[in-house]
Amino acid sequence: MVTDTQPGDWAELVSIALVGTDRRPVPQAAGPGPGADRASQDPALVLLSQAALSALAWRVGRPPERFEGTLPAPAPADPRPPLPEPAARRLRTILESYPKYLPEWLAAVRAAGYRLPAAFLPPLLDLGRTNMLIRVDLAAVAGEPGRWLVAAGGNWKYLLREARSQLRPEDWQSPDPDDRIAYVAGLYLTDPAAARRLIRETWAGERVPVKLGLLALLSRYPDQEDLPFVQTLIRDSSKQVRDEATLLAGSLERKRDKPQPPDFTAEVARLLAGARGIGRDLHNFVMTRTGEPWPLDGAQLLLDALVEHGRRADQPAWTGWIAEQLQVAVADNAPVALRDRVAALVAEQALAMAPGGPGVNQASRIDLVSMLALLDFRRDMLAELAPPLF
């Protein structure tokens, strides 16, 4: 059998190897290759030796292809001062271990006007996808580089519907639904009444994606005055809009029929004065108010009640769990000004436990040290984010 290919032709060698040298002969090399003396007896070795030479050319590949297109637009410059190094380190800790403090942290960064290290944008934008509560602050903190990143590639399109750092009237003229929604979102931050007016005036002409975005804004900033308008939307031509409007109208109606949420401090005082003190009713009330800042006097009332509760040995066992939950809630939501009071109580507790002190019986069994640790964490977190000095 005669083959007319050159010995060592890479494609030919590959096709021989595929079916095996038992079925197809190997072309003999003209000169001695590596191991030629042994190889001359065994077609398999001949093939491997020839392949070793030819494979090099295949493996070295081709020079990189030329790039012909235009480079993508680079990220815009961010004039804000960079986040201080300790705060960047703390963000890592927050993301890994204390995600519950992220909203407070983001709000403080936004207030101070710092720029985030870019490497944190992807994980934060991922969190914003599921956590609507942080979106406003996240959009402000991510700033124009964040919007650029989302537009350049990434699955975080929601960010484009959030307010820009400055209201741009041209956004309201834009055909892009995201731009129009972002404009109204920005208007809500500066002039809510104007935002509501704008929604009502232009509603009829809007397309469905814009309408859905505006409905989301109406439900983010609920206002009873919107109710009659929202009720008219229940007859909108789009089913999606109808469904969303029905949901929003229902929630506004429920809020209208329910009494105003009570003043935090007064309600805590009322529940503590009741026969049960630290009990289920107090716990239920306090847990509905987590995630919002508490007044200092109300937080202090709760703290004192918890310390007193810890001193008494005759409490039913189930209140221990409630007391623990309340402790964490106080540490997470109280103004950090409460920290000094807790520190003083910790010192008192240490004194009571010291030899020669009043002894264990006088000391509260409440875990003040853990509370202090959380409050310290929040205090340091906020202190690191003091606005930069110019």
Binding site: L18, P72, T93, S97
Partner: protein, 498 residues
């Protein structure tokens, strides 16, 4: 913001450097959680001596007592903690170091008694092990009159016998491999592909028995070649021919130039110990920029690779460290740090692997005529605002070709691009790296070299976010199939992508 200048602050490690000591990601997280002052009491530090101590409140009644010594002269850092964790360093030690790194541990004059006791014990242990090493060296060199000549000869003979035995085993293993390769080529690669991983796994096991570990790993990777979707016949035959070439190289190793022979030995699995590299390798000192760091989990060990670039000439070196999962690495060098160090390069056709050599102390004190060599790490990383020195993609391709010509088994070469821009694709596999200076483009390989494919998307996103699509210096591993990015610089700031 001007603050008071704190002399201890300069001696404190950066948080990144502490994080690099963590044995694994979960310890890193747990340590970060403890890096708040809350659970700590009785903390103190002597930053100049790299000594830290403190009590950490745990779940039990008694707080855990933690001590850390980071001094450079001891080489590897030392940790002690009364907690029962088997992680080393444990989360308490990491938390204390992070707290210290953030300036949360006050400087103290005198360490408490327990710390002093621990230090003394540690010193004593170090001295004992030095003395043992010296005694061993004396025995090894003890062909002189004063040592026991018979014992020395016996030990040398035993070592020689072991080495000869290993060579014999490798010879037999390679004969076995050659036979196997020929069988497959005779009956056709299609049959091997259909047979699954089993025959390859059996062969790899036999090669491990033959003490040719690196070769066994190479053989295992044949499964990747066989499973490649498109060009599997080419890739498999290429890998077959490389194995064949390695067998030839081993048999003719005495005729090869010394560096190439060293490459063959390494590729078979006869690695050189760090001490030997320090002795015979080519030394190079200067200021080195840490280009990047990657940890790869292998069977029972985690392998850490750290690439350095010399500031004067751009030469790249790679440090290797191994640690069992959950244990600390000896080297903790974050990307972007600068090290003043003397390195020794392992002999190789393309010298890349190196070991850190701080200084060479010739001690004649212990026993006369006995040379004791002590190698230790010299790590004084400082943060700098300068990026690495890079080139173009075309230069990277030329560099790969040159490396392949010198060492035909080269898989990838470390390269620095001067102006890289990521080009976004719909999926991580579709992204590309464009060289804004040289005009080339290559695919971005986000999940090559055993990297976690689920992290590929995050790697692409981080690359885009950190570089901002500005042409930026990028360090990575180049192969003709594409580039695996490891570190990107933006305004002189290094961002690690792993």
């Amino acid at each position: 913001m001007a603050g008071t200048i704190d002399p201890a602050a300069a001696q404190r490690w950066s948080a990144d450097r502490v994080h690099a000591l963590a044995p694994d990601a979960s310890s890193q997280r747990a340590g970060a959680k403890l890096a708040a002052p809350g659970p700590w009491s009785g903390c103190g530090a002597q930053s100049a001596a790299g000594l830290l101590w403190g009590d950490c409140k745990g779940s039990g009644a008694k707080p855990y007592q933690v001590t850390v010594e980071l001094s450079a002269e001891q080489g590897t850092p030392g940790y002690a903690c009364s907690c029962p964790s088997r992680k080393f360093p444990c989360k308490h030690a990491l938390g204390l170091m992070l707290l210290w790194s953030a300036g949360g541990v006050p400087e103290a004059e005198e360490p408490p008694q327990r710390v002093q006791d621990w230090l003394d014990a540690r010193r004593e242990r170090a001295e004992r092990s030095e003395a043992r090493k010296a005694a061993a060296a004396q025995r090894a060199a003890g062909e002189g009159e004063d040592a026991d000549p018979a014992a020395g000869r016996k030990a040398a003979e035993a070592a020689e016998r072991r080495a000869a035995q290993r060579i014999q085993r490798i010879d037999a293993g390679l004969d076995d491999l050659e036979l196997w390769l020929c069988d497959q080529v005779r009956s056709g690669l299609t049959g091997l592909r259909a047979a699954g991983y089993r025959p390859i796994d059996d062969l790899a096991r036999r090669l491990i028995d033959a003490q040719a570990g690196a070769l066994a790993t190479r053989v295992r990777e044949l499964t990747h070649c066989l499973n490649a979707p498109e060009d599997w016949p080419e890739r498999t035959l290429a890998e077959f021919s490389l194995l064949h070439l390695l067998i030839q190289g081993w048999r003719n190793r005495d005729a090869l130039p010394a560096p190439l022979a060293a490459t063959v030995r390494r590729r078979i699995g006869l690695t050189m110990a760090a001490a030997e590299i320090a002795e015979v390798g080519e030394h190079a000192s200067g200021r080195w920029l840490v280009l990047g760091c990657r940890d790869l989990a292998a069977d029972k060990l985690v392998e850490r690779r750290v690439w350095l670039q010399r500031e004067t000439d751009g030469r790249i070196a790679m440090l290797l460290a191994f640690a069992p999962p959950g244990q600390a690495f000896g080297i903790a060098l974050p990307a972007g740090a600068v090290v003043e160090a003397e390195l020794a390069f392992a002999p190789d056709a393309v010298p890349l692997r190196a070991v850190l050599v701080e200084h060479r102390v010739v001690e004649n004190a212990v026993v006369e005529n006995t040379v004791v060599e002590r190698t230790a790490l010299s790590q004084n990383p400082e943060s700098v605002g300068e990026g690495p020195q890079g080139g173009t993609l075309d230069e990277a391709a030329a560099g790969f070709a040159a490396a392949l010509a010198a060492d035909p088994w080269t898989a990838a070469v470390p390269v620095v691009l001067d102006g890289a821009v990521p080009l976004v694709g719909p999926k991580p596999e579709d992204w590309q790296i464009v060289d804004a200076k040289g005009g080339g483009r290559v695919p971005l390989l986000a999940s090559a070299d055993g990297a976690d494919p689920t992290r590929a998307e995050r790697l692409c996103q981080t690359l885009l976010a950190c570089g901002g699509a500005h042409p930026a210096p990028l360090f990575g591993l180049y192969r003709p199939a594409g580039l695996t990015p490891i570190t990107i610089w933006n305004n002189g700031q290094a961002a690690s992508l792993w």
